[in-house]
C-alpha cells in the first residue's frame, strides 16, 4: 500500500505533488516553485480568472496586439498562431482558447532584447475565440481576440 503510493507519487512527478501540496493549503497560486508553472492559471476557464491567476486585476482590449492565423483550421489538433505585440514594455504574451476545457494554452515571458513576437501551435477542441493576452512590465494586461473556425475533415467524418 505504502510502496504503491510512493510509486504513484514518483510516477506522476512534480505536478501531482504540487497539486497535493496546494490542496493541502501549503502553497498559494503564484508561489514560486522549482520550475515555475502557474497551475492556478492553467486551471481557469475564463479570461478574467486567468488574468487574476496571473496577478492582474483585468485586461483592456488593445489594437496594438496582432494575431496572425488562418480564419479556418483544417484540423483542430494543430492550429498555428503568430502573436505580435506593439504594447510598450511587453513582458509576457499568453495564448488563450476560450472554448477549450481550460482557457490558457501557453504563456511566454519576453525578456528585454527579445522581440514581443511568438509563433507556436495549439489545440482547439472546437470553433472558438482565441485571445492573445499581453502583460506589461508594470503588471497591466491587454488583449486582442479573433475567431477561428475548426472544421471536420476526410472520409471518417
Amino acid at each position: 500500500m505504502n510502496a504503491s503510493r510512493r510509486k504513484a507519487l514518483k510516477g506522476t512527478g512534480g505536478a501531482a505533488v504540487l497539486g497535493l501540496a496546494m490542496a493541502a493549503g501549503l502553497f498559494r497560486p503564484g508561489t514560486t516553485w522549482a520550475a515555475e508553472w502557474n497551475k492556478a492559471a492553467f486551471d481557469t476557464k475564463s479570461l478574467n480568472d486567468a488574468v487574476k491567476a496571473m496577478g492582474g486585476a483585468g485586461a483592456a482590449e488593445s489594437k496594438d496586439i496582432t494575431i496572425t492565423s488562418p480564419d479556418i483550421a483544417e484540423n483542430g489538433a494543430v492550429v498555428p498562431f503568430t502573436i505580435a505585440s506593439k504594447v510598450p514594455n511587453t513582458a509576457a504574451i499568453a495564448i488563450l482558447v476560450e472554448k477549450n476545457p481550460n482557457i490558457l494554452a501557453a504563456n511566454f515571458d519576453i525578456p528585454q532584447g527579445t522581440e514581443p513576437w511568438v509563433n507556436t501551435r495549439v489545440k482547439m477542441g472546437q470553433t472558438s475565440n482565441v485571445i492573445a493576452l499581453v502583460k506589461t512590465a508594470d503588471g497591466k494586461f491587454h488583449y486582442a481576440s479573433k475567431e477561428v473556425k475548426v472544421t471536420l475533415g476526410g472520409c471518417g467524418g
Binding site: 515555475e36 481550460n102 525578456p111 527579445t114 507556436t120
Partner: protein, 103 residues
C-alpha cells in the same frame, strides 16, 4: 529517453530567429483509450531558451499546446557562431536540453 529537438537559429537582419521542434506526446488528460480509461496528462510545462547563459525566452505551457510542439521567436544580441540552448521539462519531471549554433 526523449528524442532530440530540432533547433534552427538564423540571423534575420540584426536579430536571431530561432525555430524549434520538440518530440513530445502533449497528452491532454482528456482523452480515453480504447477501453475507456482516461489517458493521463503528459505534457511539457516549461521551456527555457538561453543565449550565452542569458535567458532569451521562458515559457509555461499547458496541455493545449499541440503534439510535437513547434516554437519560433526572435532575439537581439546574437551573432553567427554563438550557441542557443533550449531546455524543456514535462509534468513527469522528464527533461531535455539541446543546442544549436547560430548560422
Amino acid at each position: 529517453m526523449a528524442d532530440p529537438m530540432k533547433i534552427r537559429a538564423n540571423m534575420v537582419g540584426d536579430k536571431v530567429e530561432v525555430k524549434v521542434l520538440m518530440s513530445h506526446e502533449m497528452e491532454t488528460g482528456q482523452r480515453k483509450d480504447a477501453k475507456g480509461a482516461v489517458i493521463p496528462a503528459w505534457f511539457i510545462q516549461n521551456v527555457t531558451a538561453t543565449h550565452n547563459g542569458k535567458t532569451v525566452l521562458s515559457a509555461e505551457w499547458g496541455p493545449a499546446v499541440a503534439k510535437n510542439p513547434f516554437l519560433s521567436f526572435r532575439f537581439a544580441g546574437g551573432k553567427p557562431g554563438d550557441k542557443v540552448a533550449i531546455t524543456w521539462t514535462d509534468n513527469k519531471g522528464d527533461k531535455r536540453t539541446d543546442e544549436a549554433t547560430i548560422a
